[in-house]
Symmetry: C2
Subunit: 443 residues, 2 copies
């Protein structure tokens, strides 16, 4: 994986650390969100597996180095820096909350402790990868919450921000609680169940709907799901019902889903197809699902695209990656940013989870009775500590972790009061002494 | 590029076309948006080059085929389909508006005419690729419009929906009018200018701000851009100014940008650094830029991240890909979807652009005086017709095309009346006859 997939300033700063003799200086960086996006009471951490994959395989090819050498920003950089780049390896440590963990503002999702240059270059990639998958896993958990016992399937690749984002959205949505994805590559790559129905173009490509349905049944057998709204949903349902078994079900994709689902259910039942399912699609989100469930619409599965793969109501949560500690081998130094609207908290952290609250403490704080320490070592000295769990394993873990949250946090609307998040005493005194030190250093 | 990066139903439908003996039947599919997302008066088409790259290199490996064979949805598919998959090639035609063209609802951005299976499988990838880049190019054009003579640089990879989306956002933003990107891989891959400053972690990693600034100047020389808000923006500006030449400028990243930019400009000028630029960053969008420009804030360049790379206010425009014509070698058939809220228009189209309006006509309509036909052949019989323009070439073309639009369309607010888009008479009569035919076919 090319080291060029980052912001240029990460590379100029890397050169700067090299030039300033800071090659051996170790920095600790934390990736976290400052606040929860609209209506969310927690986020579901996701994307760690791909972040780890990247760190373990991050390289600069000779071609990458040639490109960088010729940039005006590197005109003054000594050649020694470029000579060293092909040997670049990530040799540091990574601590992270397990994928699927509910997390809150200020809590590190992952922590990188590595020589400054090695920790700086990955910032951009880590934020984009963990940030995006966390967005989608969170949105999926909300759909799952709304759907109750009914299933939700991720159908959004076409509306994702690039095809590759669609593959990752399939993974993250599954982690967050979807039953599967329509994305075949996500299915293959991550071992996720894949689902599909048929398109309007399938129906249109035959002379009539009956012929299109018959051909689909011949092809898919018990997996057959008819898309019945190409011409008229009720007519479509009658034509589908007339074909009898085998059938998985039908898909509604337009119109009033409450009325149509009841009417279509009756048609299927009258044909003796009591087991045939009804899937609904078409710009669904957690609130529309909630309404359909509340209205008792006989819908067995929801297919969700745009809203899920783009986290449409909150397409960003503004995750950041901040330097909190420095160690040059002789002394340890804590760092924080004091500007009014974007301050940070110094010191490497651990998140201690109690049933009713979290305490963000110093990484070296002892764990208290009744608490769980969320951040665990994932990479030590550039080596993976243990194999990472499968997407299916992460999905089960997430489901259990969400179940363990206080009920009010699982609301699809902002809960008041929100989760209680406190800083531990050791961190607070670290902040005080750093502020005092900073005040004294002012002229 | 693997054929698995698509929705599963594209692959089951492909098998269905094969099974139904429709291998030789040619379908024409159009990719377009149904309506403009919030506040936009046009979109800037982008992503064609990557769509073409995909179509020319779309393949199924033996491993891909093994995965598909084992899926329950293919349990009834004859082995002949799978045996043929490794030989799959896109052998069809693609017509498209040049990247950088302003487009409107209903106007095909690209048209695929190919054997049904070859046209169906790429739907998902084409929508995600062209859809996303079009979103970002459009958003960039709005930033460009707001910024006037000042430059806008794309800084959003960290907030993009995956690292790869960040690379593509860099390209699309440049096409839409940004001066460049912070993404080094986008710079290398697409020949786009790259820019960067320094991070808070750089400043924090040194004992004091002066030391951090001095080291940066030593490293970057005339490209030096100090990030001055780590501790206090005004203090930071004084420290930067005291270091004198060489300097490119300073970056403001928090606080009241209008007040701070004036204050910082004075500090730089008093130090004789009249040529030093001020760059502003921090959750900017076209409206905030417009306000800063209207207030005459002495800001020379805007760095835009989240809002641009995620098209934050409109993260989707719901592009679709619809079958409009079929040709089985003997007869041509036109197709449309009649469901109330999602109808489509039959027949392959051409967009005729007049200065004040567009006419969406049939692909075979003659061009009228004063009109430009926007859709051009790009791939014919699976072969690229001519090399595609560079990102820089597309950017110039887009800038000219936007300049040629009526002034009211370039507003950042919805213009009333919107662009006049008419369907040509041949298309309208096609629709009428198809509706009549459909009515007659009803029982």
């Amino acid at each position: 994986m090319t080291g060029l997939l980052t912001d240029l300033y990460q590379l100029t700063m890397a050169a700067g650390y090299w030039l300033a003799g800071k090659v051996g200086e170790v920095g600790t960086y934390e990736l976290f969100v400052r606040r929860l996006p609209g209506n969310r009471n927690f986020l579901i951490a996701a994307g760690l597996a791909q972040a780890v994959e990247y760190l373990l395989h991050l390289r600069f090819t000779e071609e990458d180095v040639r490109y960088l050498r010729d940039l005006p920003q590197f005109a003054q950089t000594p050649p020694g820096f470029f000579d060293a780049l092909p040997e670049f390896r990530f040799t540091g440590d990574v601590f992270a909350v397990p994928e699927g963990t509910p997390i809150f503002p200020g809590e590190p999702i992952l922590t990188v402790r590595a020589p400054l240059m090695e920790a700086q270059i990955p910032e951009t990639y880590l934020l984009a990868m963990v940030g995006f998958q966390t967005l989608v896993a969170t949105k999926a958990a909300r759909m799952r919450e709304a759907a109750g016992a009914r299933s939700v399937v991720e159908f959004g690749t076409r509306r994702a921000h690039s095809p590759e984002a669609g593959v990752l959205a399939g993974r993250a949505a599954y982690i967050g609680g979807c039953s599967g994805t329509s994305n075949a590559l996500a299915g293959h790559r991550y071992g996720i169940p894949v689902f599909g129905t048929a398109a309007h173009s399938w129906v249109l490509s035959f002379e009539g709907e009956v012929e299109a349905f018959r051909r689909l049944q011949e092809l898919l057998g018990p997996a057959t799901t008819y898309l019945i709204d190409t011409y008229d949903t009720i007519e479509g349902a009658r034509r589908a019902a007339a074909l009898g078994q085998p059938i998985w079900g039908v898909r509604l994709d337009s119109g009033n889903l409450i009325e149509l689902s009841h009417a279509v259910r009756r048609i299927l039942n009258e044909a003796g197809l009591h087991e045939a399912r009804i899937m609904a699609t078409g710009d669904l989100n957690e609130y529309k699902i909630l309404e359909l469930v509340a209205e008792n619409a006989p819908i067995d599965a929801f297919g969700v695209g745009t809203e899920l793969a783009t986290s449409l109501d909150a397409p960003s949560h503004g995750a950041v990656y901040k330097l909190v500690e420095l160690n040059d081998g002789k002394t340890k130094r804590y760092t924080a940013k004091f500007s009014d609207d974007k301050h940070t908290m110094p010191g490497a952290k651990q998140v201690f989870r109690f049933p009713d609250r979290d305490i963000i403490g110093h990484a070296q704080d002892c764990i208290q009775d009744g608490a769980e320490a969320l951040l665990q070592p994932v990479i030590l000295k550039g080596k993976l500590v243990a194999p990472l769990p499968s997407a299916a394993g992460i999905r089960s873990y997430a489901a259990r972790a969400i179940e363990l949250l206080p009920r009010n946090l699982r609301s699809l609307f902002p809960c008041d009061p929100p989760r209680q998040i406190e800083y531990g005493p050791s961190l607070l005194s670290l902040l005080d002494s750093l502020k005092e030190q900073h005040r004294q250093s002012l002229p």
